[in-house]
Amino acid sequence: MTATYTPSEMMTVTAARSLPNGAVCFVGIGLPSEAANLARLTHAPDVVLIYESGTIQTKPNVLPLSIGDGELCETALTTVSVPEMFRYWLQGGKVDVGFLGAAQVDRFGNLNTTVIGPYDAPKTRLPGGGGAPEIATSSKEVFITLKHSKRTFVDNPDFVTSVGYGRDGKAREKYKVIGKGPTRVITDLCIMAPEEGTNELIVTSIHPGVSREQIIEATGWAIRFADSVAETAEPSEQELSILRELKARTAAFHAASGA
């Protein structure tokens, strides 16, 4: 019997499964935070979650709305200053996986979170880089998770805030000291990975019930598929119930907070 689940749940569960137990993960807010905490509550109880607010090895009972909710500090092993977080823990090479979301990603895994349109006369001003530019380069590898659409998977973005493999796919060859870059992109439709040799993202696994046409339609460039494309395993009942409980706890908590 397969469970009933939404594409969004499929994305979160798949993203969560990517994280190995024991990995040290620098967690972006939103989808990455949801996935990383689901991993911790399921197959990866010893995953180490770090947030840029300085909270190390945190185990929030509810998902934080911001990157610095009190819950993160209260459940952390310890909390360090923000300069120390970026200097010792991220730049110091302690992070196995940087887990990022983005407004836009291109075929080489470059992320735009800065601007749509010209920088000086923006059509849409996005929030900006935050921790991502250095999470993208100082983590040993990077996972990216975001919803799949032509607005998010774009060709030739207006800005590269955080590097994947650069606009030519070869940016990482220029730098001596840098992580591997994005090794996996998880969406609500599929899993992508950089193709060996070109570093172009190609589809390596398709979620159950999703067609190749759907993926092609939702991607802003001529997306290619690996020679052998897997079908992503469905979420288990247990994963779904833990995820749903987490989200319910979170909603109840944030509705009541600030009193």
């Binding site: 807010i29 939103g30 840029e52 607010s53 300085g54 934080p64 709305l65 911001s66 990157i67 610095g68 909710d69 009190g70 993160l72 500090c73 209260e74 909390t79 360090v80 200053s81 923000v82 300069p83 970026f86 200097r87 991220l90 730049q91 470059n110 800065t114 920088y119 923006p122 059509k123 849409t124 001003r125 996005l126 929030p127 900006g128 880089g129 935050g130 921790g131 991502a132 530019p133 250095e134 993208a136 380069t137 100082s138 800005f159 590269v160 805030t161 955080s162 590097v163 650069g166 940016a171 990482r172 220029k174 730098y175 001596k176 000291v177 944030h254 509705a255 907070s257 600030g258 009193a259």
Partner: protein
């Protein structure tokens, strides 16, 4: 040496039109009370520095206090955009706003270097990012030992650094606990420092390695209970995540914003 002052007097004494000012606090302990007093005193032409402008700078920018913003992430955390910031950048309302944009790592390093009295911060940063194309203050140095090229940015040493903390003792020494952000760095790197606190106590009762700012690095200590609301003060009150969500609708609309400021800032005693 710290003096105990009213919020009104602290802001009017130390914050001048045209100053470079940082109200810091990373999600936690954001000095909203002090920001509101700056709005009430109609300060102008400020260069505002903050890693995450957050609601406090959205409000100050919307009220026309700032001519320039130095920042690294300008969203409403977990909610979406800062609409007043976007309105300034996209439509020059209430007037144009110059920006200098960094990454968090760079700004955290710049505050650190400012506290350390250095003119620059050096980090392994911005590799492959296009931020150096639009920010002329991102340069580089070459390591004389390895030949590696590293990013260099100016340190941050502001005219006035403003932070909120849990406690001050009666000598004006201040204790900060929990997510301590860049608060120590902004204060140590500032020409003048204002600290608002939840309460003034006889004894800080602090752990030997606690984050304590001695009275002699602070100009003004202001008692401002709930002075970080709707952000939070660890040990005192929680972040009002609901208000952060509600802000999205308030700030989307210029009239709704002005009405909110009128009711909640201008017509409120500091």
């Amino acid at each position: 040496m710290a003096k105990f002052m009213s919020l009104h007097d602290a802001i009017s004494t130390y914050v001048k039109d045209g100053d470079t000012v940082a109200l810091e606090g990373f999600t936690h302990l954001i000095p909203f009370a002090a920001g509101h007093e700056i709005i009430r005193q109609q300060k102008k032409d400020l260069t505002l520095v903050r890693m995450t402008p957050d609601l406090i700078y959205d409000q100050m920018i919307g009220m026309g206090c700032a001519s320039k913003l130095i920042f690294s992430w300008g969203g409403n955390p977990g909610v979406g955009s800062l609409h007043r910031l976007r309105d300034a950048l996209e439509h020059n309302w209430p007037h144009s706003l110059e920006t200098i944009e960094h990454s968090h790592a760079a700004m955290a390093n710049a505050y650190e270097a400012g506290a350390a009295g250095l003119p620059l911060a050096v980090l392994r940063g911005y590799q492959g990012s296009e931020l150096p194309k639009i920010n002329p203050y991102i340069r580089s140095i070459t390591c004389p030992f390895t030949g590696e090229e590293l990013a260099a940015i100016p340190s941050i040493r502001v005219d006035v650094g403003i932070v909120h903390a849990q406690k001050a003792d009666r000598q004006g020494n201040v204790l900060i606990e929990g997510i301590v952000g860049v608060q120590k760095e902004v204060v140590l790197g500032a020409k003048h420092a204002i600290v608002t606190v939840e309460e003034i106590v006889d004894d800080l009762n602090n752990h030997p390695n606690a984050t304590v700012l001695p009275a002699w690095v602070i100009d003004a200590v202001v008692e401002a209970p709930r002075g970080a609301y709707p952000s939070y003060a660890y040990g005192y009150y929680e972040r009002d995540n609901s208000f952060y969500k509600e802000w999205d609708a308030i700030a989307r609309d210029r009239e709704a914003f002005l009405a909110w400021i009128n009711d909640n800032v201008l017509n409120v005693q500091g």
